[in-house]
C-alpha cells in the first residue's frame, strides 16, 4: 500500500532505533510500520504551537494530538500540553494569546515529548503542514536523545495542494490554510485556536479528505 517510500524510511528507522537515547523514542522507531489499509491504520493527528517558524531558532510552545482508529476520531485519546520555554515568547505570543508567565506553567519539553512518543508508536502521523511541525519534532528528538523522529507522515495541506493542482486550479493565497481547506469540505468553522483544537480540526479534515475510503469501516 505504501510503496517504496516506506522502504527507505524503514531502513533509516532500523539504523537509528538502537542509537536513540530514550526508551520511548526507541519504541516509536522499533514498532512495525503500519501496512494495512486506511481503515485499519491508527493515525495520530498532531499540532504544535511554536514561537516562530524556524526549528533552529524557535521553540515548541504547546503540543496537542488526537488518535483516529477505524475511521473515528477518539476524543478520549486527545491530549494537550504546554511546554516550558527556554527563551521568551516574542512576537508569536500575540498570535497565540499566550504570555511568558502562562508558558512558565508548562512542563519541560523533555517531559512532554515522551508522552507523544508513547502515543504514536505503531501509528501514522498526520499534520496540516507536516514539514514545519516535523522539523521542530525532529530537531527536539535529535538534540534531546540523539535520533530523529522517523515516522510515516501524512499531510493534509500537501494533499489539498496536490488535489487543487490536479484539478488545474490556481491556488489563491490562504487557500491551503486549515480553515479554508475545511470549508471546501463543508466542515464547520471553529473558534478555538490552540494546539489541540487545531489537531482535532485537522483530524476532521483528514476524515473528510478520505471520506470515500472510510465508508466501509466508519460505522462498524
Amino acid at each position: 500500500m505504501y510503496g517504496p517510500r516506506y522502504l527507505w524510511l524503514a531502513l533509516q528507522r532500523w539504523w537509528w532505533r538502537d542509537r536513540a537515547r530514550h526508551p520511548a523514542l526507541c519504541r516509536a522507531l522499533a514498532a512495525p510500520l503500519p501496512a494495512n489499509g486506511l481503515a485499519d491504520t491508527r493515525y495520530v493527528v498532531v499540532d504544535l504551537e511554536t514561537t516562530g517558524l524556524s526549528p533552529e531558532q524557535d521553540e515548541i510552545a504547546s503540543i496537542g494530538w488526537v488518535a483516529i482508529e477505524h475511521g473515528a476520531i477518539l476524543l478520549a485519546t486527545a491530549r494537550h500540553y504546554k511546554v516550558r520555554l527556554e527563551k521568551d515568547v516574542g512576537q508569536s505570543a500575540i498570535y497565540h494569546q499566550l504570555t511568558d508567565s502562562e508558558l512558565q506553567q508548562g512542563e519541560p519539553l523533555a517531559t512532554v515529548l515522551p508522552r507523544l512518543l508513547e502515543a504514536i508508536a505503531g501509528s501514522v502521523l498526520v499534520f496540516h503542514n507536516a514539514q514545519l511541525d516535523m522539523g521542530f519534532l525532529n530537531r527536539a528528538c535529535k538534540s534531546l536523545w540523539g535520533a530523529p523522529l522517523l515516522m510515516p507522515v501524512e499531510d493534509t495541506m500537501q494533499l489539498e495542494s496536490r488535489r487543487l493542482l490536479n484539478s488545474h486550479q490556481a491556488i489563491p493565497t490562504g487557500a491551503l490554510r486549515l480553515f479554508q481547506c475545511r470549508r471546501r469540505y463543508g466542515l464547520p468553522d471553529v473558534a478555538a485556536h490552540d494546539a489541540l483544537g487545531d489537531a482535532i480540526a485537522t483530524a476532521e479534515l483528514w476524515l473528510a479528505i478520505n471520506a470515500g475510503e472510510w465508508s466501509q469501516c466508519a460505522e462498524q
Binding site: H80, L187, A191, D194, E204, L207, E219, Q220
Partner: protein, 617 residues
C-alpha cells in the same frame, strides 16, 4: 464520571455541546467530560446507518444533514446541525429505521456506556431522549406547572401607599380619613417606623364599645407591632398567615420597609379575575360602555391566567365563554330596545367562536338563523338586531370580520330554508373561492336562541358533505394550501421583509392548517363536533385516525396554541397589542424544538391527506 486532571478540556467540542439540546443543561464539568468521550466520524452524502449494523450510540449532527426513514420509506424526520438521534431507540418503535446522510455529514457519536450513564444521572437529559419525537411532544403539551390563585405572587394584589397616620391622631380624625379613603384599616406610623395597625374592628370594639372620647389618640386602640409579610411572598403565604393569626389585614414590607397592605377582601377581589366571576359579571351589565370596560381587561386576564399555569386550550374555552356572554348580553340589550323577537331565531357563532377556540383579538364571525315563518317585516327586526349586536361586539374589542362573515351581511342572516339552499349551492359548485369562504361556516355553534334551528342546519350540512367526495376533495385542496413554515432541514421559514420581518404568522401557518385538517376529516365522516380537540377525539373513536396519529395531532395542536398564547402574553406584557406573529429566534431552545416537532406532525398529516384525496383533485 471522574475526570482525570491531566485530561485536556476540548473547548471546541464542549462549546458545541453547550448549544445542543439537552446537553446545554448539563453541568459544565459533565459537558467537558462528555466531550472527551465523543468519537467523530465523517460520512459522505448518501451513506446509511442502520441499527442492525451500526454500534449503539447517540449521534449528534455536527454539520451536514441526516434524514430518518422508517422501514417503509416514510420520512420520519430531517435533522440538521445540533440535532441528535439514537438509531437503536428509534428502531424500538418502528422496525428497520434508516438514517441517511443527505449532505456530507460530520457526526459526533456518544458511545452507549456514556450515553446511558448520562441518562441514568440526569433526569431531564433522560426525559429528553425517553423515546423519540412524538413522546417528547406529548410531554411538552401535557406539562403543567402548579398553579392557581394561591401560587401567584402577593405583589399583584397589594394595595400600595396605604393610609398611614401618626400615633397622636384622634379617633375621630382617623375614622374620617378611613371613610374618605374607603379603607377598613390604617397604619400607625412614626415617620417611617411602623408602630401599629388600626382596623374597623378596633374602632368598634376598643373605642366605641368602651366609650372612649373621640379626641383620644389612635395609639390607645392600635394593635401594636402587627405581623408583617414580605412582598415576595405568595398569596398562599398571606392566606396562611391571616388564618393562623385570625387577622384580616397584613402590612407588606420590602427590605424592612412597609410598602403596602393586603387585606382579606383584597384576596377576595383577586377572584374578580376568575373567569367564572367575569362571565357572571358581564351578564349583569346594563349598557355597552360597561361591557366594553370589562372586555378591555381581557388581555390582562390572559396574561394572568397563563402565568398562573392555565393551558392554552383552557384559556380559549374561557375566552369563548366570555365572548358568548358578551354576545348574549348584547342580544338581550337589543331586545330591550327593539321589543321581543317576532319569530324564533338562533344566533350562530362561526370560526374560532364556533369551535370554542377563541383567543384575544379574534374577529367576530357570526350569523343569524331565522325560523321559516318570518315575514319580510320580521326580517327587518333581525336586520336591526344584527346591526346592534355587531356594532356592540366591535366596540367590545371583537373587530368586524374582513370577509363580512357577520349577521349584518344578508347572506349570513337568513331563514333556515334559505340557509339550506346556500349549503346546497356551495356543495354543488365548489369553486376554490367558494370553498375558502365556506370552510369557516362549517364550524358553527348556537350562541343564543333556539339551538334546534342550528341542529337542523348542521344535520343538513353534514348529510350533504358526507356523501359528496368532490366537495371534500375541493375542501382538502384548500386546506393543503397553507403549510407549516418549515423549510428543508427543518428551518423555520420567516417573512423576508416588511413589518413582520423574521417572523411568521403562527395562527395562519400553524393553527389553521391543523384546524382545517380536523374539519375536512370530520365533514368527510359525518362527525358533528366542531371543537378541534373534540373532532380529533371523535375521529379516533370512529377509527378514522389511529390512536397514535390522533394523539400526535392533539399534542401538536396544544403545543402550537400554547406557544401562540405565550407569545401573545409577552406582547401584552411589553405593552403591545396581541397579534399572531412570532419570531422563532426569540423562543427558548426547547420551545423552538417542540414547535418544529409540532409542525412536522402537521406536515405529515397534510401529506397523508394529500394522498388520500388525490383522486378527487
Amino acid at each position: 464520571m471522574n475526570a482525570d486532571p491531566n485530561l485536556p478540556e476540548i473547548q471546541s467540542v464542549a462549546a458545541f455541546l453547550r448549544e445542543c439540546l439537552p446537553f446545554g443543561d448539563l453541568p459544565e464539568a459533565t459537558q467537558q467530560d462528555t466531550a472527551r468521550r465523543i468519537q467523530i466520524t465523517y460520512l459522505r452524502k448518501g451513506e446509511q446507518i442502520r441499527a442492525s449494523s451500526a454500534p449503539y450510540a447517540l449521534r449528534i449532527v455536527r454539520s451536514g444533514a441526516v434524514e430518518l426513514r422508517s422501514g417503509d420509506q416514510q420520512l420520519l424526520d430531517r435533522l440538521g446541525e445540533g440535532e441528535s438521534f439514537n438509531i437503536h431507540g428509534l428502531d424500538v418503535g418502528s422496525e428497520g429505521v434508516v438514517a441517511e446522510t443527505i449532505e456530507d455529514t460530520l457526526l459526533y457519536q456518544l458511545p452507549r456506556a456514556s450515553y446511558e450513564a448520562l441518562r441514568a444521572q440526569f433526569r431531564d437529559f433522560d426525559r429528553h431522549f425517553h423515546s423519540q419525537r412524538n413522546r417528547r411532544l406529548r410531554r411538552a403539551a401535557r406539562y403543567r406547572p402548579d398553579s392557581n390563585l394561591l401560587a401567584q405572587p402577593l405583589a399583584n394584589h397589594v394595595t400600595r401607599n396605604p393610609l398611614s397616620l401618626p400615633p397622636h391622631t384622634s379617633l375621630q380624625e382617623a375614622a374620617r380619613a378611613m371613610t374618605e379613603w374607603r379603607v377598613s384599616s390604617l397604619l400607625v406610623k412614626d415617620g417611617e417606623h411602623l408602630l401599629g395597625i388600626v382596623t374597623d374592628r378596633d374602632l368598634r370594639s376598643r373605642a366605641l364599645a368602651q366609650g372612649l372620647p373621640l379626641q383620644n389618640a389612635i395609639r390607645d386602640i392600635m394593635s401594636p407591632q402587627p405581623k408583617r409579610i414580605e412582598l415576595d411572598a405568595s398569596v398562599f403565604d398571606a392566606v396562611l398567615m391571616m388564618t393562623r393569626e385570625g387577622i384580616h389585614h397584613l402590612p407588606v414590607q420590602e427590605q424592612g420597609k412597609v410598602v403596602g397592605i393586603i387585606t382579606s377582601s383584597d384576596l377576595m377581589l383577586a377572584r374578580q379575575n376568575d373567569p367564572v366571576y367575569l362571565v357572571q359579571h358581564l351578564s349583569r351589565q346594563q349598557d355597552l360602555q360597561s361591557l366594553a370596560a370589562i372586555t378591555a381587561s381581557l388581555p390582562a386576564l390572559m396574561v394572568q391566567a397563563i402565568q398562573g399555569g392555565m393551558r392554552a386550550h383552557q384559556l380559549s374555552r374561557v375566552l369563548t365563554a366570555i365572548s358568548d356572554a358578551v354576545t348574549c348580553r348584547l342580544i338581550e340589550l337589543a331586545i330591550e330596545r327593539l321589543g321581543p323577537a317576532p319569530v324564533p331565531f338562533c344566533w350562530l357563532g362561526f370560526g374560532s367562536q364556533g369551535r370554542g377556540e377563541q383567543l384575544i383579538g379574534a374577529d367576530q364571525d357570526n350569523g343569524l338563523l331565522i325560523d321559516n315563518r318570518a315575514s319580510a317585516a320580521d326580517l327587518d327586526w333581525f336586520r336591526q338586531l344584527a346591526t346592534f349586536v355587531c356594532d356592540g361586539l366591535n366596540a367590545c374589542g371583537y373587530p368586524y370580520c374582513n370577509g363580512k362573515v357577520m349577521a349584518t351581511t344578508e347572506r349570513w342572516r337568513q331563514p333556515l330554508s334559505e340557509w339550506r339552499r346556500t349549503v346546497d349551492d356551495w356543495a354543488f359548485s365548489p369553486t376554490p373561492e367558494a370553498v375558502m369562504r365556506v370552510s369557516i361556516f362549517f364550524d358553527l355553534r348556537s350562541v343564543y336562541g333556539d339551538a334546534r334551528l342550528c341542529d337542523q342546519l348542521q344535520r343538513h350540512m353534514l348529510a350533504r358533505t358526507r356523501r359528496d367526495s368532490i366537495f371534500q376533495a375541493a375542501l382538502a385542496a384548500n386546506v393543503l394550501e397553507q403549510t407549516p413554515p418549515l423549510g428543508i432541514f427543518r428551518r423555520f421559514l420567516v417573512e423576508r421583509n416588511g413589518e413582520h420581518r423574521d417572523e411568521f404568522d403562527i395562527k395562519k401557518r400553524g393553527v389553521m392548517p391543523l384546524v382545517d385538517l380536523a374539519r375536512v376529516h370530520a365533514l368527510a365522516h359525518g362527525i358533528p363536533a366542531v371543537n378541534t380537540r373534540e373532532r380529533l377525539q371523535q375521529l379516533v373513536d370512529a377509527r378514522v385516525l389511529t390512536i397514535g396519529d390522533g394523539r400526535n395531532l392533539q399534542d401538536a395542536y396544544d403545543t402550537i396554541q400554547q406557544i401562540r398564547v405565550e407569545n401573545q402574553c409577552r406582547q401584552v406584557s411589553a405593552g403591545h397589542s396581541a397579534n399572531n406573529y412570532l419570531n422563532p429566534d426569540e423562543l427558548p431552545d426547547l420551545e423552538r424544538k417542540h414547535l418544529k416537532d409540532a409542525f412536522t406532525v402537521v406536515h405529515d398529516a397534510q401529506e397523508a391527506l394529500r394522498s388520500h384525496f388525490r383522486q378527487g383533485f
